[in-house]
């Protein structure tokens, strides 16, 4: 892992995988949804189209969705690795992936309204760095689309209107409300990344980090595992359905994390991820050897 070595090409491949190959856990959840929908309805047509689309994207190595999102990246690195260098390499990778059409030019100058044209911009891509004791780099990324980002929400408990107090029952109530508010606008069926606690900065980051989890894993904290299972069941009972057409499949998964909070604050923060829950991960060892992770 010499200082002069560039990770750009590996990061381009990471982006290509995320943008064009839907992870197996997400595909499986979509297929399960397809089985429970009634034949001939709009929900079935929507899910069939989605499954067909996933296959086409993989075959042609083209973006699953034209909104290739914001690359949100978590990098674990050993002591002594330059995070500035990683930032530089990743940004170069975003530019290269944009020119190869794995990404859409997706950064807009907020003041002028002009597109930067190369996918990079102020705050884009968004990288989190964490030093660890292992000698290797681990890079995990999601591509977070704008439509689903717009239906994310942050609630402040207590919430009188929803009868939500400062406990997990209160969390349950506001999360279900968020699913109804989102309807199909975040491209249902979606995955919910939820953070209980934290502040208005840390909570959104944690809610996104939850989206990295495999859909079929079990939360190690029993009361959160129970909450996730209940929210998944009840969220689907709301009947929003694929694309909001009505149906049985509204959610593909619910993942809940916890951060400690200030005495005065109790936030529940929800990041909604569309059905195209694009995520990819790679491990890079000291010799530069690359292992793709699921």
């Amino acid at each position: 892992m010499g200082a002069t070595e560039s990770y750009t090409e590996t990061f381009v491949e990471l982006i290509r995988r995320a943008s064009t190959e839907l992870p197996p856990d997400v595909l499986e959840a979509l297929e399960e949804g397809r089985k429970v929908e009634q034949a001939d309805g709009l929900a079935t047509i929507a899910l069939d189209t989605i499954l067909n689309n996933v296959e086409l994207a993989r075959e042609s190595s083209a973006p699953i969705c034209q909104d290739t999102g914001t690359p949100v990246v978590w990098i674990h690195h050993p002591t002594g690795v330059s995070t500035r260098g990683l930032q530089k390499d990743f940004t170069a990778a975003v530019r290269e992936a944009t020119s190869r059409k794995y990404l859409r030019p997706n950064a807009v100058d907020t003041l002028t309204g002009s597109n930067t044209g190369d996918g990079a911009g102020r705050g884009i891509p968004f990288l989190h760095f964490e030093e660890w004791d292992e000698p290797r780099l681990e890079v995990r990324m999601i591509l977070k689309g704008g439509g689903s980002e717009n239906v994310g929400a942050q609630y402040k408990l207590p919430d009188a209107k929803l009868g939500a107090g400062r406990n997990l029952e209160g969390v349950r109530r506001v999360v279900l409300d968020a699913v109804v508010e989102a309807q199909g606008k975040g491209c249902a069926p979606g995955v919910l990344g939820v953070c209980v606690g934290g502040d208005r900065v840390s909570a959104f980051e944690e809610s996104k980090r939850q989206l990295l989890r495999p859909l079929k894993d079990t939360n190690p904290t029993p009361e959160l595992a129970e909450l996730e299972a209940r929210l998944f069941k009840e969220g689907n009972e709301l009947g929003v359905g694929p694309m909001g057409f009505g149906g049985e499949t509204t959610l593909l998964g619910v993942k809940v994390g916890v951060l400690d909070r200030l005495p005065a604050c109790y936030f529940v923060t929800i990041s909604y991820m569309c059905w195209a829950s694009r995520k990819a991960a790679v491990s890079i060892d000291q010799e530069g050897g690359v292992t793709w992770l699921s």
Binding site: I45, Q66, N106, K185, G244
Partner: protein, 195 residues
């Protein structure tokens, strides 16, 4: 399933109802946030012929430029339509659009505009960028590319059997309103509120 040729008559549009699955063939145009404000600011004579009698597609595509200078849609699913709610009914009325393609549905102002002008809201499957790009064999022309950038430009495209669902019709019905109402009722039940 019905096949609909574009441009389309008001009569054919009035025959469509919520729940219909339709495949579109012919010429349409893309337009999203920047395009809608631009179309409202002033009457855009140069674009008007490409809007009349056809549909506008809320889409910000990934586009490749070929060596001969022509364009190819690489990925082209719908974007969220509700952002155009303040402008859509006026754009439909002013330019004679017969429909809108997008995702997520639109609000009461648009629903009223659809009934008034004889137009429909057509829902494409969100995220299905490959299925839909393959139904767009040709890019004919583009407006405002340098000003708005690739996603926001107005692309005139030929489509072939482009699959959409009617979720808001010209008779005042909206599937989105119906699903929302049912899910709100279910939420009240789950939260133990009086139904």
């Amino acid at each position: 399933m019905a096949e609909l040729k574009l441009p389309v008559s008001e009569e054919s549009i009035r025959n469509l109802e919520v729940g219909d699955f339709v495949e579109l063939t012919g010429r349409m145009i893309t337009g999203r946030d920047a395009a809608h404000t631009w179309l409202i600011e002033d009457y855009r004579e140069e674009v008007a012929p490409y809007l009349e009698g056809t549909v506008i597609y809320h889409c910000g595509p990934v586009v490749a430029e070929r060596d001969d200078g022509s364009y190819d849609f690489v990925a082209a699913g719908p974007t969220t339509s509700i952002r155009e709610e303040p402008y859509q009914a006026d754009v439909i009325g002013r330019y004679g659009l017969r429909g809108v393609i997008g995702k997520g549905g639109m609000g009461p102002k648009t629903l009223k505009g659809l009934a008034e002008h004889g137009a429909v809201y057509l829902h494409a499957v969100g995220g299905a960028a490959q299925v839909l790009a393959r139904a767009i064999p040709r890019v004919e022309k583009v407006f405002m590319l340098s000003e708005f950038g690739v996603p926001e430009a107005l692309w005139v495209i030929e489509v072939e059997r482009f699959p959409v669902m009617v979720t808001m019709d010209s008779h005042g019905r909206s599937l989105h309103d119906e699903v929302e109402e049912r899910s709100q009722a279910k939420l009240r039940e789950l939260l133990g509120f009086a139904v």
